[in-house]
Symmetry: C2
Subunit: 215 residues, 2 copies
DNA sequence: TATGTACTATACCGTAAAGTACAGAATTGC
DNA sequence: GCAATTCTGTACTTTACGGTATAGTACATA
């Protein structure tokens, strides 16, 4: 994401916007989060943001561009959250923070709907929309890489033996993350999700010292 | 599911149906699979099945009942597939069969769309529809239990030591299954999914002999 | 063959969807 | 102050949606 969103660059001349783009995108995101992409109407988005439709269209384009802007916004925040959690020096604390943030996000404790926003809104569209599926793939690859690097860092720091298998370890947490999202959406409780995440962390601990198996 | 679907009980009198219910539900399922629940219109379903809308409404009720019938149909088939794969006597072969069937299904090789039908169509609706979210939860619990029982069986059969942790082992495959579904929908290739599944199976092998960790 | 019954086909209904035209309002540069 | 520019608000257009009325049709029982 090198280029900034056009909609967030305030125009120099003319009547200024009466709204803050990020606030609007947060409302838009929450509405899509609850009802899905196809299940959300522009009128709902208009009501949720307090903006009239021409303002939404003027600022973001059509429904899909508005959705993609909200998705970008969400993914940027998720990346920042992950980066912060992964920056914790101790591996165990770092991984716990990762799972805890996911659980908090997916249970909708702070804001938004349940489960992962991308999983529950982009996936149904991904089959027929290459633009959306590309964003999804890149986001997934990013998650894989981020966790892989964290384990590599732990090996470099001597927290794990050089023989450890960072790819397998990363996969445990990635797969667990998908399960957390799905089960949160289905209505599982925070406590149940916490147990699942702890099981995954326990697994990581059990095989952290083991070398990679035969391919 | 004790009670049979009403739509599958042929009436005794009057003009008989010109269509086979299961065939129709398969077409309905495939259409929802591609476009999502909210993204699919009754006209699309009518075109995909070759039935006119009044026939669909007459046989299944409204859109949601039609969807739920297709979902039940799908889940029954998935359960049967899983049961068959889990019935393979050797644990390793059994687990490989489980992953292979998922991959085949999720890549849309034989029929339907990509990813898990339930994941990609029911999840967006699950947040606002308790009836759908209940079905999803029950299906998830069923998957957890089926895999747990398979590992328990392997312990009973002496394939795994009594100290093995069937819950953790089951979780590896369940979480992997969710990841396979998500990545298939995002467009990952069969080969990439196979590698992921093999990593999970490898993990199972690595910790199969280990006892459960501290809770 | 007569009759009841359920299915099929066409056409339609009311509503809600995405998107827009246009007039007025707010701000900047001149 | 005045023109240029951009946003806001109301009302609208067009299309597609879920769902149905109705007329006709095919079959089972009697």
């Amino acid at each position: 994401m090198v280029q900034k969103n056009l909609a967030s660059i305030p125009p120099v001349r003319g009547r200024p916007r009466s709204f803050n783009t990020d606030d609007v995108l947060a409302r838009v995101r929450d509405t899509f989060w609850r009802y899905g992409y196809a299940g959300t109407s522009m009128d709902q988005l208009s009501a949720a943001t307090g903006l009239h439709k021409p303002s939404l269209y003027g600022a973001f384009g059509d429904k899909k561009r508005l959705y993609l802007a909200a998705l970008d916004n969400y993914l940027a925040q998720v990346r920042a959250d992950f980066a912060e959690a992964l920056a914790v020096p101790t591996l165990a604390e770092s991984l716990y923070a990762v799972t805890e943030r996911s659980i908090e996000k997916y249970t909708g404790e702070s804001e938004g709907g349940t489960g992962c926003f991308m999983m529950n809104t982009a996936m149904p569209e991904a089959a027929e929309d290459p633009e959306i599926s590309r964003v999804v793939r890149e986001s997934m690859d990013g998650l894989d890489r981020a966790l892989f690097r964290r384990f590599q860092k732990a090996i470099d720091a001597g927290e794990l033996p050089p023989s450890a298998d960072p790819q397998a370890l990363a996969m445990i947490l990635v797969a667990n993350n998908y399960e957390l999202s799905a089960k949160a959406r289905a209505g599982y409780s925070r406590a149940e999700l916490r147990l699942l995440a702890d099981k995954a962390l326990d697994l990581v601990g059990r095989i952290a010292g083991a070398p990679a198996g035969n391919p």
